[in-house]
Symmetry: C2
Amino acid sequence: MKVLVLGGDGFCGWPASLHLSARGDEVIIVDNFSRRRIDEELGVQSLTPIRTMVERRAAWQEVSGRAISVVELDVAHDYHGLLALLREECPDAIIHYAEQRAAPYSMKSGKHKRYTIDNNVNATHNVLCAIVESGHDIHLVHLGTMGVYGYGTAGMAIPEGYLGIQVPTDDGLVETEILYPTNPGSVYHMTKVLDQTMFAYYAKNDELRITDLHQGIIWGTNTIQTKLDERLINRFDYDGDYGTVLNRFLMQAAVGYPLTVHGTGGQTRAFIHIQDMVRCIEIALNNPPAAGDKVKIFNQMTETHRVRDLAALVAELTGAEVEMVPEPGDDYGSGIYVGLKVRHAKFGVGTIRKIEGKGDDQKAIVWFASCGPKKLLLRFAGLERA
Amino acid sequence: MKVLVLGGDGFCGWPASLHLSARGDEVIIVDNFSRRRIDEELGVQSLTPIRTMVERRAAWQEVSGRAISVVELDVAHDYHGLLALLREECPDAIIHYAEQRAAPYSMKSGKHKRYTIDNNVNATHNVLCAIVESGHDIHLVHLGTMGVYGYGTAGMAIPEGYLGIQVPTDDGLVETEILYPTNPGSVYHMTKVLDQTMFAYYAKNDELRITDLHQGIIWGTNTIQTKLDERLINRFDYDGDYGTVLNRFLMQAAVGYPLTVHGTGGQTRAFIHIQDMVRCIEIALNNPPAAGDKVKIFNQMTETHRVRDLAALVAELTGAEVEMVPEPGDDYGSGIYVGLKVRHAKFGVGTIRKIEGKGDDQKAIVWFASCGPKKLLLRFAGLERA
């Protein structure tokens, strides 16, 4: 099939493009090379040397005998370029990675928040709008994140897509199905919530065929294809913005630093290897929803780890030490931290959202299921772990 | 108090500005005058002659002895202008009307969809981001719409803000509260869903104080203040994009045309007079949430009418005739229309989302609570009203 890979120069887009090209798809990469510019902005670079797109394409042609086309285009701001491309190429599917994808980067400043909102929302909406306007029946596959549900859902089954609920009506309770409620923890995560709202609308209103893959943290660097030639190598980011937790542990171990675990390290995260991620993309492409179907939403993960267990694993393999770093303000009581589920005598069960101040003045904002957020002075609140 | 009225030149913003100025608030209107440009684009104008902002301000000064400041600024695209204004003026509150507000306009073409998304999402996010970056404790009051919940909720109590639900967890069902699930029917309505997602995030993450008023259809033209001088008169729109149903009935009656009711006219809509709308704004300003509170969400409405009853009311008052116009494709069975709740032998209760084709080929997409959307050939589907 013919596939457009939006953001095909990035950490996920590049190996996905090669994987699909290798299986015989006609692949067209669309990218504005923003990821390379952000490296320059942050003064960092991938540990693995990333070649120019010209070199990457030439290497792939040499190794595989297959050609990948590349179109330089800003999906978020060049709508007419995108629409013309869809009309000309009539792709069977679009894989949409053309979003700013780092939560810490999205929170650096007002400028970074606004860039993330403007880029991600307009990119997604332009793609949806262009598919409708092109008149072609194109399957859209989007990379979302399980992080849209928040990370305070300890004890809950990991949410996936939809939730059946009962809504009170004049005739009693009615069963209905909704998008699983979200609780984004960063502007980046919020854009993925906005995305799924737009997907639901366009699937319903325009009968677009959409698959939304909610990925866990993608680890690893290479896939079968990127290992074929060093010019094809994929990114390994380890900076504070784009480096995920495992990469940072590995770098700390490699340079002889202790592995830093913040708070209790009890935060559980879902992981998937990049080779499995590209396989998930292939499965999604092979199993599109029908026109008129609701958005297909699937989690993409193979394992979950608590952060401190991951550190212990890396320490065992490398001989590095693990250093537990208290969260700022984490000094009242023992082990009070953001995300902890607690029980209050009056308000019932809630989740700690924010901790402020120190010592006797330390307060926590706790979100209670019964009554929403409450700010409590910790020394009088009598909170117990729930 | 000092209040910034974003979109203060528009149908709601102008009377709200005068109302607040009259009660002694220091009012600063911020507007890019987009509503006037859209009149030119559509080749229509308000039935009531709208003066320039210079004339409006002078008239208000003359009549009331009070000054209103005006800043020409595009909230969606001039972030630094907005931030500088907040830093300089330190307002107590911001009323945010700076959005494209017509559902039909938002659906005219890809260009109009994209304009509505880009303008409304960036305007709202810029306001939120600028409040955080200004460091001031500013209460944000936003005009939303009850239409975010969709109009297929016949039989349900009109939703307002939040819904308590039960979520399955490893320990059994847990009670929690979510934003009431939405079902937007246009790109305009969808932007209001995106807005409330951003409000929830910024209220939780940055403890912004936010009130979101979900308005019904606002009817009427004038308030106490706009009646004081004909140069202060408010808009009366009756075109197909910005004219709401009541205004169009009134115009049809005035020019001797029959009042056109589409489908069965059984669609129920909520209404509020513009004088009550500005009073709601005042109540909201006087009762801000505390920092750390969840977003205050209130419906603003005083009455509900079925469209055909509204037509009958106008007909009775004016002597006009009512003409029932079948919906396109509404010719199979009797009274099958979008929004109707139906029962299917196998799938249970669902709501008709779309009707296609004619006669024996007529199909409906029905969204069933049990299994999502199904496309059914009506002559074999055996649907009954639920």
